[in-house]
């Protein structure tokens, strides 16, 4: 009796689950995001920012290094919509070029950190035992240092600069992905042990590569997206205490840091990069929220 009544439902479930995963996952996610107005706005702004970064040379009215020592610190005008900085460079052009550095440092740090994390997470989950123990203890230690302080420490050692900052900031993204991947692999390994008393076999390899990594992709993607915003802010913070990206690279945080002494006399030099940081982080967060809801309404960070 129970079987009869439940049968239809379970058939239904199996079928939809398969199709959902195999074919139209991307489509469903896209559809859900498109239906969520805030996520859509976030996505549109994000796309605009990325386009701005990619096509910076075509959009920016001037080169970001082009100086005009006769026209420094000028307020916003028609020629220089965001004004000029203390070397007479066009702030708007610098903000446009700056999106390249700010966005890329955010995205690349998270990508790097996540890749490292996934690698070690896979190793920990796959080998288990001592290896797992060592990796997880190390992650525990890493997580008990406040992220900002860890980034500062590593930056102090590596020195300032684009790549060094990126390395320093990527560390913050490691623990999350280690834990996610390890947990998924341990889950599967548990099942394997139940099925057959053999140790890890070829099937496990295949499962890890084909199923676990794609499946942990969703949560990693969501928290990774959210982390990008945080990393952009952290990069700005590093620049602020003199450890981040150095001029003349027009990273937004370093533009604020460089112009903070002018906050009373020429506020436009710090206002515009500040606004763009806010827009970028805001749209990443809006998009991340939407992505989370779309990938799994129950997946809450």
């Amino acid at each position: 009796m129970d079987d009869v009544l439940e049968m239809g439902r379970s058939m239904n479930k199996n079928e939809t689950a398969e199709t959902w995963k195999r074919q139209s996952q991307l489509g469903i996610v896209a559809k859900r995001i498109a239906k969520n107005p805030t996520a859509l706005i976030g996505f549109i702004f994000l796309v605009l920012l990325v386009l701005m970064a990619v096509f910076a040379p075509y959009i920016a009215p001037y080169d970001y290094t082009e100086q005009n020592l006769m026209n420094t610190r000028s307020a916003p005008s028609l020629e220089n919509p965001f004004g000029t900085d203390e070397l007479g460079r066009d702030v708007m052009s610098r903000v446009i070029y700056g999106s390249r550095y700010s966005l890329s440092i955010g995205i690349l740090s998270v990508l790097l950190g996540t890749s490292i994390g996934m690698f070690f997470g896979a190793i920990a989950g796959y080998f288990g035992g001592t290896v797992d123990n060592i990796i997880m203890r190390f992650i525990d230690i890493l997580q008990s240092i406040p992220g900002t302080l860890l980034a500062i420490t590593v930056s102090v050692v590596l020195g300032p600069g684009y790549f060094n900052s990126m390395l320093a900031l990527s560390i913050g993204a490691i623990p999350m992905s280690v834990r996610l991947l390890r947990a998924s692999i341990l889950g599967i390994r548990g099942e394997e042990y139940l099925e057959a008393a053999t140790s890890i076999n070829a099937r496990t390899h295949r499962i890890i590569l084909r199923h676990i990594i794609p499946n942990t992709f969703a949560p990693i993607l969501v928290s990774g997206t959210m982390m990008i915003g945080h990393v952009i802010l952290s990069a700005a913070m590093l620049s602020f205490i003199g450890l981040g990206i150095q001029p003349p690279m027009p990273e937004w945080g370093s533009m604020i840091a460089g112009g903070r002494n002018l906050i009373r006399s020429c506020p436009h030099i710090v206002t515009f990069p500040g606004i763009f940081i806010m827009i970028a982080v805001l749209s990443i967060n809006l998009f991340g929220d939407g992505l989370r809801d779309a990938l799994d309404p129950k997946l809450k960070k």
Binding site: M1, D2, D3, V4, L5, E6, M7, G8, R9, M11, N12, R32, K35
Partner: protein, 329 residues
Amino acid sequence: MSENDTMLSVRDLSVEYTSEGKVISAVNGVSFDLKRGRTLGLVGETGAGKTSTAKSIMRILPDISSRITAGEIYLEGKEILCLSEKEMRRIRGRKVSMIFQDPMTALNPIIKVGEQIREVIIQHNSISKKESVARAKEMLELVGISGDRYHEYPHQFSGGMKQRVVIAIALSCNPELLLADEPTTALDVTIQAQVMETIKKLKEELNTSMLLITHDLGVVASACDDVAVIYGGEIIEMGSKEVVFDNPLHPYTQGLFEALPEMEEDAERLKPIGGMPPDPSNLPKGCFFGPRCPHPGENCSTERKQLVEIEPGHFCRCGRALKMENSNG
């Protein structure tokens, strides 16, 4: 039977849910009456609208995603859908209470079980805290749990024990109407009978009317006086247990009985009902059971059927049943 004997009367109740822009019609014009002291079994598949009906009676459907679109519910002759939330609160837990399907999640994990019982007692009775604690302990004892476990938390209880706590909560104010939503589904088979016995015993002791929601005809047979079969949010057959069990008229009801294993027959001869239940967001135009019906008529796919009293006290929503009954009589 006078009007006063009717504990609960549901008229043309319709409930809709909205999810991701889709409208789901969960209940579509359900009507039934429940007499004082009797037990009505509401039988149907998952998603047929049983729980929504019960929750509508309690008025505890989720505010944001669902809506009662039509109908009236009379409790002792009094319409309750138009009551204010404040008035409704005096009814919930005191006059009407509900036992939920899954005892694992029905209890608040971080409040002591005794407190969870006491909460409803003190809400509806003006008694001291001390008295309410004593009453809560009594209730625990009543459902077969030692009163000493008042201070324990739900995670310290087994599934069956938790369901007993839920029952204790539901019965602690001597409700006149008990809505039991698949009270045994989530339990081990061995526990199911015990819990069902407890419910039956307490119901009789307290002379409570009960709406028992289930998909298990066995439970109906042992615990109910009347039975209503619900499909696609509609009642398709209703009557006293005896008439319906002796003479199921609707093809769906017949299908349910055919799928029921009987002691003397082989399990292989079970006949499952083919096809799937209707999609509540996209219901068929005609008879909701039409696509799965073994005996489809000409206009079944286009014409909505009415619930008709085919023999006294036996209602059915099927043209074929009506014809057959007419030709027989």
